[in-house]
Symmetry: C2
């Protein structure tokens, strides 16, 4: 089978699997819609399960391409804002949602395959964010010892905006209007949580977390108004 | 039917639904394990779908009880650390995971019901964290105008640690060993992101996010070693 035909089948199969769920999507329907025989599909993919896994692998390839950042010089914060904005757009996309939902919906996916999916999705997102985070560290905007931690925080903040509503309630996220604002806040939070050279933020909670428990809080301040 | 019997059925049904999935769990098996007739179950719950929704509602009630903080005076940061630690433990629990997975696995759950589940879970988590966040704001450790934003960040950070691995790969989270450390870091990040009185952190990225894009980054620093 030509690789173009394979891609055609994977696209059609993806549409049906994700719309109807694994069990309701019929291979005969996938065959009809891709104008190919059911027998040829089984010849190429062996089983419906294998076809499903191929759809997921294909989806991850697409995600990797979407997450590949253009080489861009200039202001590191702008780079990071752009990456965060793109990150949020990715999380908000049907592709991302389908890739995340699939292993939950279809519990036949082997553990090894789930692990590999998880790893690949995370590494695509890393590929998107690590270069601008590194650029920020280079110019002294971020602790260069804590780039991984900064990525974790950025991820957590951005993904949280879409995962709850998008995954649990409705595929159409209600937050898409606020995307820029979310990317902006994610960058602000990340850079203030991991300032350069381990220099902690000023203010009453400046120290390392471990030491805070032992510290007495400052006395209550007078009301400001 | 006595309410004790109803609870017994809901517990047994929950075990089976969550272990086998909605479609593989049989009402006859639920009946057998709770030592009650299938007819009585259908009399009490009308349908398998209604039984499933009752299981979820019962799970949410349990979550609410677990998330109810004991009234505790003392150091607000300690209160917040304890709440964060308990939050993480909740996210790491089978109950939480099952409640999150259910609407994804079983797409027959009506949208209204999903929304209500989502709202109730979030409000249980708010109930756990808002009092200590407010206590921190009272003593000037947190911007009292941004308690909601602080809760969002705390949530995002804590949930992100369990949701990826726990939801997508394996029900047994691999991170449970680091729980205290995660709660600690969540508190540190939250308090440094929203300092009191809108006083922003010192350092090159001290200003409001919106203004940063226009700001030139400082010149690269000399290497420290």
């Amino acid at each position: 089978m030509q690789s173009q035909q394979v891609q055609q089948i994977l696209d059609v199969a993806g549409d049906l699997f994700f719309e109807l769920g694994f069990w309701n999507a019929k291979v005969s329907e996938i065959a009809a819609r891709s104008e190919i025989s059911t027998a040829s599909i089984y010849k190429a993919f062996e089983s419906k399960d294998a076809l499903f896994r191929a759809v997921l692998a294909w989806g991850i390839e697409k995600l990797k391409i979407l997450a590949k950042p253009p080489i861009e010089a200039g202001d590191p914060i702008n780079q990071l804002l752009q990456a965060s904005d793109r990150y949020h757009a990715l999380c908000d996309s049907a592709l991302f949602r389908d890739l995340i939902r699939a292993p939950i919906e279809h519990n036949n996916i082997p553990l090894m395959f789930r692990r590999s999916m998880c790893r690949q999705i995370r590494s695509a997102l890393e590929q998107l964010c690590m270069p601008p985070l590194q650029a920020c560290a280079e110019v002294g905007l971020l602790d260069r010892q804590q780039i991984k931690e900064a990525f974790r925080l950025l991820s957590a903040y951005i993904e949280h905006q879409t995962i709850w509503y998008g995954l649990l309630v409705s595929p159409a996220s209600k937050n898409s209007g606020a995307r820029e604002q979310i990317a902006d806040e994610a960058v602000r939070i990340t850079l203030s949580a991991y300032p350069p050279g381990g220099v902690v933020a000023s203010g009453p909670y400046g120290g390392a977390a471990q030491s805070v428990v032992a510290t007495q809080p400052p006395p209550p301040r007078a009301p400001e108004d």
